[in-house]
């Protein structure tokens, strides 16, 4: 019951085997959905291709509904899953830098692996840029450290912030997702067609 490896139901040695298998499935799905093409990825910002929005929202909605159903049926214990810590300003500023990087490079690390695997040289350049960027971060760490470690709000979830039952949050989230899908189709029909 619950996450299997932390509860010891699967021996720990399988952890890395599972990692490779999950990674393979992840890479396959990303590539087959078109995330290995940087022009498709950047399309969401210009209105000619909304595949990023659709895949992201659909997977988020499906996974959150699935996890909460499993929690209700006692298959998974949600309190044992990893919830990342919230560092407020680090998330905002890091996200801003990442946003600019996304537009400039047209990739994100996961999709750049996919694209590099099928031979896109610009994806390999992006990955090289990632390495350099992390290197610069580590060298300049002493300057960035207060931002990095500051304003730690802990491992909070939306339930703690908004103080309503998680099921209502999921419902609202689903409705927002569906509305955004309809909206994206409408926008796409109005935008000049781009061939990529």
């Amino acid at each position: 019951m619950g996450p299997l490896i932390p509860n010891g139901l699967i021996p720990v040695e399988w952890n890395f085997v599972i990692a490779i298998l999950i990674g393979m499935a992840f890479g396959y799905i990303l590539e087959a959905s078109g995330f290995s093409s940087s022009r498709k990825l950047a399309g969401v910002f210009y209105g000619y291709d909304f595949v990023v929005l659709k895949v992201f929202f659909t997977s988020a909605v499906v996974s959150v509904i699935g996890l909460y159903y499993m929690d209700y049926l006692n298959f998974v214990d949600i309190s044992q899953l990893y919830i990342q810590p919230t560092y407020l300003w680090a998330a905002i500023i890091g996200g801003m830098i990442m946003g600019v990087g996304f537009l400039a490079g047209g990739f994100c690390p996961g999709t750049s692996f996919c694209a590099a695997a099928i031979g896109k040289i610009d994806a390999m350049a992006f990955t090289l840029g990632l390495v350099i960027g992390i290197f610069i971060f580590a060298e300049a760490f002493n300057f960035i450290e207060p931002l990095f470690n500051g304003s730690n709000l802990g491992h909070i979830t939306m339930v703690d912030i908004l103080n309503i039952s998680p099921y209502w949050i999921i419902l609202i989230f689903t409705i927002i997702a569906i509305v955004s899908f309809v909206f994206s189709d409408w926008v796409r029909s109005k935008v000049k067609k781009v061939f990529y």
Binding site: N7, L81, Q84, I178
Partner: protein, 216 residues
Amino acid sequence: MSKRYKTKKFIVKREYQILALILVLLATGLVLLPKYKKNEGIEPKLFVKNAVSSERYISTDLLAEKLVNQDPSILLIDTRSEKEFNDFSLPNAINIPLNNLLDDDFIGYIDQDVYDVVLFSNDSFYADQAWMLGNRLGFKNLYVLKGGLNEWFDTIINPKYPKETMPREAFKLYDFRKAAGMYFGVGAPKTEKKAVKTKKVITGKKKKKRVAEGGC
């Protein structure tokens, strides 16, 4: 056009709407499902079965024999208050007052499957309650000393000399109890120093659940 064709056409034309509807229905289902309290522990029926059976009792004679033989798998837990524990207790017993049984510091002593835990108190009232709590939470290897310390006094420290008409086993039992009593210090000259109680250390195996790791 046949009805089947019409429904198929309807589904194909509006497949996205149907899928969206299914999604919203699932989410609404989550909101509307009755929320029950997930009870942590064993089923009530099983609990009653365990409570009614007398398997959990361990007699004073058996306990004395195990202690004399220095059985390493026994862990004695005194469920009375601290003051009573300091007055007198069994050798190598650990004091966990009933109120503190489920504290983080102490729960490791009953939530483990290495030692056999024998709970005792003056009668067996507190010990029984502790056993009920532990058994409800699903812990195994819990036993109660039948009769508690009162029975211990009556049998080991101060055994009754059997009447002549009793069978031979009664005499053997009496001898055994006398011997055990001497092992525990009865009849020895009253010395001021209290026997050094070596605290039995539970070498780490609090069944700790592994924390899920994570990261970017």
